[in-house]
């Protein structure tokens, strides 16, 4: 009996022990869970990190290293020249012109594509007949591979044989003797027109997605208060999609700085270096002329410009959006 009576007493500390063990097990599990969680993070993040290290970080460092040497692309890298390559790049008119061309595209994109894209998005956000078709048509150029779009435009813009020239001259618009791409003063503008055709779809798509997120109630309420369609768009819709617009500007800016494919296909940087960008300068200096040190220095400059602009934009403009989120 005593045993029996003692039993519960005995079970109590036992229970306590068990509970304690349980608790320990729980914390142990929690600790084990943490370790597991860390392992999981490691497992999932490692492949991405390894890829990033191999294909992004290593090349960046290797280009930076290259920029301090005079190197032709083979043999050991021994001819250390300090900052000479940077001086050469910055003193090269072709490179400074290329930087200018990049910035022309950056600002022209924002000044032209933003209002145009916004106008189209507002238009396509209304209930009009054939809306789906129109949306598709505007978005199709963006889906096309850049190289294919480039080759098509290259052929359209050919002097004499190109379709565009015949179309323009048949309605009395004069065409330049050397064609749009062959005339140094017009080439960059022509490239920009093609870029706008290609990338307007993305702007419209993003803005439309933003507009869909504007609640209908706001429209209705504004209309009840007697606001006109314009007022609704200007005072309600556009301010509400401002974060989307700011993100688009960021993407457009970075894309314009890295501009390569379209220029390479349409003009190769010519005529008379009228359309060179930093990226085409890299290719012509590096792989074509085997001045890898100079190309390395130019790529570091491109990286720094892109990085500085991205950080500045994040800090000055996008910070508002991220803070609002938090």
């Amino acid at each position: 009996m005593t045993r029996v009576t003692a039993a519960p007493a005995a079970t109590d500390p036992g229970a306590a022990v068990t509970r304690g063990a349980d608790a320990r097990r729980v914390t142990g599990r929690r600790r084990g869970g943490k370790r597991r969680q860390r392992l999981e993070i490691l497992l999932f993040v490692t492949p991405a990190l390894v890829l990033m290290a191999t294909f992004v970080i290593y090349p960046v460092f290797s280009a930076a290293r290259m920029s301090f040497y005079r190197w032709k692309g083979f043999g050991p890298m021994v001819d250390f020249v300090g900052l000479e390559n940077y001086l050469r790049v910055l003193a090269d008119d072709v490179f400074t012109d290329a930087v200018m061309h990049n910035f022309v595209i950056v600002f022209a994109s924002i000044l032209v594509q933003l209002p145009l894209g916004l106008a189209l998005a507002l238009l396509l956000n209304r209930r009009i007949r054939g809306r789906g078709l129109l949306r598709t048509i505007i978005f199709v150029p963006y889906v096309l591979a850049e190289v294919i779009a480039g080759v098509v435009w290259f052929q359209l813009l050919q002097p004499r044989t190109g379709v565009l020239e015949r179309m323009l001259s048949s309605v009395g618009i004069p065409v330049p003797e050397q064609g749009f791409l062959g005339t140094p003063d017009l080439a960059l503008a022509t490239v920009f027109v093609v870029l706008t055709w290609k990338y307007l779809g993305l702007a419209v798509l993003l803005f439309l997605a933003g507009l869909q997120g504007v609640p209908d109630e706001l429209h209705e309420a504004a209309q009840l208060d007697g606001a006109s369609w314009w007022q609704v768009q200007r005072r309600i819709a556009i301010p509400l999609i401002a974060p989307t617009i700011r993100t688009w500007i960021f993407l457009s800016m970075i894309g314009s700085l890295q501009l390569f494919d379209m220029v390479w296909i349409l003009t190769g940087g010519g005529p008379a270096n009228a359309t060179t960008t930093m990226a085409t300068y890299l290719i012509s200096m590096g792989t074509q002329r085997s001045n890898y040190g100079i190309a390395g220095a130019a790529s570091v400059v491109l990286f720094l410009i892109g990085f500085a602009m991205a950080v500045a934009y994040q800090f000055l403009v996008l910070r508002r959006d991220t803070r609002a989120d938090a």
Partner: protein
């Protein structure tokens, strides 16, 4: 974890690298890269490799045929990694000199002395400091390819022999409503060939030879070369949009315009008939209407009017290659193989014994001019290497655009040369 994955990745990368190693590592296997990727060339080289294997028991030749651009890219990667094929193509000049300096190319002077003697002066473009590092198997010269029918239409009976006559031809063609010339100035080198030729006609051989080694272009004649070019440009002979026209890609390229009878002439090398054949539906290019004439004489120029601008391809052996590779290269330049090479229209043979085997009449005429030339100047951009050559070509392209003077070409070249010293 991160480390081990990284190690694992590198290890696999290394393993992969070894598997696809270009030089096989085997003393009896010769890896041979060439760019005769189409028939009949491809099959012919397969046969040549088999014949060589039969004559050299125990030796195996691994033939890798690829398109020209692919080969250039893969070779560039091979030079960077130092893992070269045993037998490969060198274009000579500054490029070869760089490879020699980096210790990548085998000196063939002693081992192949008999073949070198047989080839004579043509090997000079592949010599560095008097030693021969590659044996040229095809050597062509640049000249004007023209459409004989369009010439007839414009009432032109004789191809021009002097620049004045060329200007008359241009006038006559324009009067007949025909665009006289196409040039792929978008690729720069086709435009640069004009300046190379005006320099070749304006400067004496000694001046040129001196300039190639000393990189000193202060002689008056180099500025004169640009002035002659400006005279030609003043006649506005080129296809509309020539500043962005590519050299060879598609119907709107410079070669395409000549092949589709949009223009009457184009300055190009011996490859032109082959390129035009590839750009026309029937595969014939200009066919019977193909004509060729040498770059005209520049009145009052110091240069020899019979000297020609040209270049070619040579077989080189990499430093680590098995000794049998040299035998293969010598076999490739034997009378027998070069005759077959010529019969298959794969290029312009350098072995004199194969000269008669060239069947195409336009190419045969070009070959005659080549062999009668007192000397052949290697394309300047090849001779000077990519860095100086590229700067030179850029400046010449700017002259074509009317944005640089003859002096600018000389200055740009000298500046680029200064950085090489």
């Amino acid at each position: 974890m991160l480390c081990s994955s990284a190690v694992l990745l590198t290890a696999t990368a290394c393993g992969g690298g070894n598997d696809s190693s270009a030089s096989g590592g085997d003393e009896n296997t010769i890896t041979w890269w060439h760019n005769s990727n189409n028939e009949p060339g491809r099959g012919y080289y397969e046969q040549v490799a088999e014949d060589f294997e039969a004559e050299n028991p125990g030796v195996e030749v691994e033939v890798v045929a690829m398109a020209h651009e692919d080969m250039v890219d893969r070779l560039e990667a091979a030079f960077q990694s130092g893992d070269l094929p045993d037998v490969y193509m060198e274009r000579g000049g500054g490029e070869l000199a760089d490879h020699v300096e980096a210790g990548l190319v085998r000196d063939l002077s002693q081992e192949a002395d008999e073949t070198i003697e047989k080839l004579g002066g043509t090997v000079s473009g592949w010599q560095v400091d008097g030693q021969t590092y590659a044996l040229p198997f095809s050597l062509g010269v640049v000249g004007f390819w023209y459409n004989t029918e369009l010439f007839e239409q414009a009432g032109i009976t004789e191809p021009p022999a002097t620049m004045e006559e060329l200007y008359t031809v241009i006038d006559k063609l324009k009067a007949a409503g025909i665009t006289p010339l196409s040039v792929g100035a978008g690729d720069k080198w086709p435009a640069a060939h004009y300046w190379y030729y005006t320099a070749l006609r304006s400067c004496g051989q000694d001046v040129l030879e001196d300039a190639v080694t000393s990189l000193d272009f202060t002689d008056e004649c180099f500025v004169q070369a640009g002035e002659v070019l400006e005279e030609l440009l003043a006649t506005e002979p080129f296809n509309p949009g020539f500043l962005t026209t590519p050299a060879q890609g598609g119907a709107t390229s410079a070669s395409g315009l000549l092949a589709t009878e949009q223009v009457a002439m184009e300055l190009a090398g011996h490859w032109e008939p082959g390129v035009m054949q590839g750009l026309t539906e029937n595969g014939e290019g200009l066919g019977e209407n193909t004509g060729w004439f040498a770059f005209p004489e520049v009145e009052g120029g110091e240069g020899d009017p019979d000297a020609q601008l040209g270049g070619g391809d040579a077989w080189a052996v990499s430093t680590e290659a098995p000794d049998a590779s040299v035998d293969l290269v010598e076999y490739l330049l034997s009378d027998e193989v070069q005759q077959g090479f010529a019969e298959n229209d794969m290029g312009l043979p350098t072995n004199p014994a194969a000269t008669d085997a060239v069947s195409d009449p336009a190419l045969a005429q070009l070959l005659e001019v080549r062999d009668a030339a007192p000397y052949i100047q290697l394309y300047f951009d090849t001779a000077f290497g990519a860095s100086i050559g590229g700067a030179m070509n850029d400046a010449i392209a700017l002259v074509f655009a009317g944005q640089a003077t003859p002096e600018d070409v000389v200055d740009a070249t000298m500046q680029a040369a200064e950085l090489e010293k």
